[in-house]
């Protein structure tokens, strides 16, 4: 006992001497003191400045302003040159594209589309993918959702088409031209933290409801990924190959087409893959602004809390996601078949398309069994789910919500500023504080705080579960192998789908949104945590083990501290995803900002409030992202 203590002390002393002010005890203590002081000051301030948490006015200046904007747009839509020659043409062009894609897909007929999808998958991604595509497409008809599936596919493909046409050149430019890259980076940063819901209202304002607005919203959601990954791919091309080609006298164009693009091919296909997944996820959500497709089925079912009816559509979306993901992933790993294979296969598909084959497949719906199951769960698990719901609400959600909603906005802003200064840098702190003030300016303070409370609770749960599962996966290889396909599948699923199990278990409530958000955000957190723990250098782990650490000591003293970067990144990712999902939870009873947005789409008099809620969500997202990302960055900096 004495020996160990003595050893520890020497160790600590050496540490302090070796790295003054870095991991030394002094730095840690002062950090702790600062946080403690902050907490005490906050509590005192909160107690002394509590407000009554009066409900938000239904007629804030911001709402009137946005209503005014809407009225102006409505009045000038056919007069103002910006609309006449800009926006309206974009809408027309997108409408033509969607109609063309949709007509193309529908025109092939059931058998034709199945055959063509299978043939294309076979050519670019091999026979397994071809088989999967055929099975998946047949399943749409089996579920009785053929027409809706084709609509969703058409929306997704249209958006992906535009995203690739715009995004790949932009990505190449960003990689090759320094100022383009520098200019795009912050824009993409913001675009990527915007929750899906926030896009929709401005889109309807400009492009009215329907397919064009849906495609453009989907495009905005998906195109950052296209640009980012293209940029990565082009920037990652081996400089030696480029130099060799330059030394042989290749022109810039020849370098691009002969060296850079072909060498970046796997990454470019990956960019398409990610774009497709993002687009599909968003295309479903755009049902809220009246886009056709599977999303409509889900929304209609959710409104009636009919889980069974939503299940079929959800399943169809998952199948589509899996098919598209597998085909594009396989395509990025292998080279496409040569034309010798491609031509006969596609020819055969064309022949099938020309044959008069109807869609006479056996029908099967999961609605009845799923509803039976949900009913059974409600009946038998009611006590458990209700207890869980009430406990979390009573212990975490309600106190937090009360605290936040009774905090005056200026105090909250100041606290955000101070927290930002402590955890991140002054720029992040200023941006976060400005966002907080902006939320108040939008006249939705109470709702924003309710949403924030839900987000924080969901994030805490997500991190608890995610870190626990991630550490388990990092320490047990077999578990990791088993969970990997599960995590893969979870990450390819569109966000809407996650509402279903939550609604099935907990009905429509605030807690449902939390559960959905946790299910949605846990997989990436698990993944980042696992990678962070696994990335701890083997030599360090070996050294700790040879010093006689128990597995628990190894985890708490070596692996978790060293995986700090990964954990903080996971927290950042998790919180952004949770926010996106909590807002969607407005559809299933979570209320607050999410509900304001949805109401804004459906009721004309609530438009201004909905748009303001959309902006408030964006500001919340920026606030949370800046605080956590700044945190992440500042620790990275101090470690170097």
């Amino acid at each position: 006992m004495t020996v160990t203590t003595a050893g520890r002390e020497t160790g600590a002393a050496e540490d302090g001497a070796g790295h003054p002010g870095r991991w030394g005890a002094a730095g840690l203590r002062s950090g702790r003191t600062r946080i403690a002081v902050l907490v005490v000051v906050s509590v005192v301030a909160l107690l002394s400045f509590r407000t009554t948490a009066a409900a938000d006015s239904s007629d804030a200046a911001a709402f009137r302003f946005f209503d005014g904007v809407r009225d102006w747009v409505d009045a000038n839509r056919d007069v103002n040159p910006l609309f006449l020659y800009g926006v309206n043409y974009i809408r027309l062009g997108v409408r033509l594209l969607v109609d063309a894609v949709s007509a193309g897909l529908t025109g092939l007929g059931f058998a034709g589309l199945v055959a063509v999808a299978g043939a294309l998958a076979l050519v670019v991604a091999g026979w397994r993918a071809g088989l999967l595509a055929v099975t998946g497409f047949v399943a749409f008809a089996v579920l009785g959702l053929w027409a809706e599936s084709v609509e969703t596919l058409a929306l997704t493909l249209s958006a992906v088409l535009i995203a690739v046409v715009l995004g790949v050149p932009l990505g190449v430019l960003a990689a090759r031209v320094r100022w383009v890259g520098a200019a795009l980076r912050p824009v993409l940063d913001v675009m990527q933290i915007l929750p899906t819901f926030a896009y929709l209202a401005p889109m309807t304002l400009l492009f009215l409801i329907g397919s064009p607005a849906a495609v453009i919203a989907t495009l905005i959601y998906a195109v950052p990924v296209t640009i980012r990954i293209t940029e990565l791919g082009i920037a990652g091309v081996a400089p030696t190959a480029v130099e060799a080609a330059t030394a042989q006298g290749a022109t810039r164009l020849q370098l691009l087409t002969g060296v850079r693009l072909p060498m970046a091919r796997p990454t470019l296909v990956l960019a398409v893959n990610q774009t497709v997944m993002m687009a599909l996820s968003m295309a479903v959500v755009t049902a809220l602004i009246d886009a056709p497709g599977l999303g409509q089925n889900i929304i209609r079912a959710l409104e009636r809390v009919n889980v069974g009816a939503a299940f079929d559509a959800g399943l169809a979306i998952v199948i589509m996601a899996v098919v598209l993901d597998r085909v594009t992933t396989a395509a990025s790993r292998r080279r496409p078949h040569s034309w010798r294979v491609a031509v006969p296969v596609l020819g055969a598909a064309a022949v099938v398309a020309a044959l008069p084959i109807g869609d006479a497949v056996p029908r099967f719906s999961f609605a009845a069994p799923v509803n039976a199951l949900t009913g059974w769960v409600e009946l038998h698990w009611y006590d458990v789910t209700e207890w869980l719901k009430n406990t979390v609400s009573a212990i975490l959600l309600n106190p937090l919500e009360t605290t936040l909603t009774t905090t005056p906005w200026w105090l909250f802003t100041v606290l955000v500023l101070v927290a930002g200064l402590l955890m991140a840098d002054w720029r992040s702190a200023l941006i976060a504080a400005a966002s907080a003030a902006g939320v108040n300016g939008l006249g939705l303070w109470q709702h924003a705080m309710q949403t924030l409370a839900t987000v924080l609770v969901a994030t805490v749960l997500t991190m608890l579960i995610g870190v626990w599962a991630g550490v388990l996966c990092a320490r047990h290889d077999r578990l990791a192998v088993l969970t990997r396909p599960l995590l893969d599948a979870a990450q390819t699923m569109p966000s809407f789908v996650y509402l279903l199990p939550a609604v099935a278990l907990f009905g429509a409530s605030r807690f449902t949104a939390i559960v959905a958000a946790v299910i949605f955000a846990v997989p990436p957190v698990v993944r980042l945590v696992e990678r962070g723990v696994r990335d701890v250098p083997a030599t360090v782990v070996e050294a700790a083990l040879s010093a006689g650490s128990t597995p628990r000591q190894l985890l708490w003293k070596v692996q978790l501290p060293m995986a700090r970067g990964g954990l903080l990144l996971a927290a950042n990712q998790g919180i952004v995803m949770v926010l996106a999902m909590v807002v969607v939870g407005g559809l299933v009873g979570a209320g607050a900002l999410g509900y304001d947005v949805v109401a804004g789409f459906s009721q004309r008099e609530d438009f201004g409030r909905g748009l303001a809620a959309g902006f408030a969500i964006v500001l919340l997202g920026v606030l949370l992202d800046r605080l956590t990302q700044g945190f992440h960055r500042s620790t990275k900096g101090s470690r170097q």
Partner: protein
């Protein structure tokens, strides 16, 4: 063939203010600290004759890779001039420069720089392809050069399926495919195993004998430099320390740096008799048959040691001196042993 005149390459902010100003006299470290500039090539001048193998040798960081890239402006020189066939390279338009790279100068790289998505044949044909040569024509030419470097039968493979040595043969074939006048080698064999490296050096010697190109060869390996080079330039901190034939370097190193470099070289393998002759003493009796003065010492050993009298050494018909065992032995034993003290 290639003339390099007062060439400078300075990396860093406002690099062009350094050459030709008082700053140019400052040592490297001080320039880096004061201006944040790195001088990679400092006032280098040399000439390479047609069909010559010119080796630039130096340790890593001495600026040799930068120097060779300045020749075709893969790196833009800061000051000075490079002329190839009398034509100023720095004055060339982008188009003219491409012409130069396409037809007249080819380069072989340390890390090969092959295109991983193309078969060997298409890698070799790439240079012809971007010139706009037809498919049949460029494939025929590529097959031809692949045979020259001994890779027939591997045309349809991808680079990653070949060993390092074979990949560099592809790199060599690619450089030869356009039939350039000048071949630049940037440490082409440093990434290879020693045995393969020796094979490849033999390959380069053979190719030089067969196709007779002007070659500029960058290396940090003295043995490689001595085997391949007609002349060797030693570069230190971006400056030329000495330019000369292998025997000049070994026999008369310009300074301690070069001397240190060459001290482990077996002198008898590099030096010729010229370096060790003495004047004949008056009335000294000599062997009848003389040795030419450019005989490498090692080749003269048997003759001189077996002779009873000193052997005369001649330059053509003129006697330049004599040599006997006394002169020979220091050259044979002279270099320090390669064992750490």
């Amino acid at each position: 063939m290639i003339e390099v005149e007062r060439l400078w390459k300075v990396f860093g902010p406002r690099a062009e203010r350094v050459p030709g100003s008082p700053l140019a006299a400052l040592p490297r470290a001080e320039l880096r600290d004061r201006l944040g500039c790195l001088v990679a090539v400092r006032d280098v001048s040399f000439q390479v004759a047609a069909n010559e193998v010119f080796v630039v040798m130096g340790l890593s960081g001495s600026g040799k890779s930068t120097l060779v890239r300045c020749l075709t402006r893969l790196i833009e020189p800061t000051a000075g001039e490079v002329r190839i066939d009398g034509e100023a390279v720095r004055a060339m338009s982008a188009k003219r420069l491409r012409e130069l790279r396409r037809h007249r100068v080819a380069m072989v790289f340390q890390h090969f720089g092959l295109l991983p998505h193309r078969q060997v044949l298409d890698n070799v044909a790439y240079g012809l392809e971007i010139q706009g040569a037809g498919r049949a024509q460029r494939h025929a030419r590529a097959a031809e050069v692949l045979e020259l470097v001994g890779l027939t039968g591997h045309e349809r493979q991808l680079p990653e399926q070949l060993s390092g040595g074979m990949q560099q043969r592809v790199g060599l074939a690619r450089a030869l495919a356009t039939d350039p006048e000048v071949l630049l080698f940037d440490e082409p064999f440093s990434a290879l195993d020693p045995l393969i490296r020796r094979d490849m050096q033999a390959e380069v010697r053979r190719l030089h004998a067969e196709v007779g190109k002007t070659m500029v060869f960058i290396t940090h390996d003295l043995a490689e430099a001595l085997t391949l080079g007609d002349r060797i330039a030693v570069l230190r901190d971006g400056e030329l320390v000495q330019v000369g034939t292998p025997e000049e370097l070994v026999g008369a190193p310009a300074d301690d740096y070069v001397a240190d470099f060459v001290r482990d070289v077996p002198r008898a393998d590099v030096l010729t008799l010229r370096w060790i002759t003495r004047d004949a003493a008056e009335g000294e009796e000599l062997e009848d048959t003389p040795l030419p003065q450019d005989t490498v010492i090692r080749d003269a050993v048997a003759r001189v040691l077996r002779a009873d009298r000193p052997v005369p050494v001649v330059d053509g018909d003129v006697r330049v001196g004599v040599v006997d065992a006394e002169q020979l032995l220091p050259a044979l034993l002279g270099h320090r042993r390669q064992v750490p003290a």
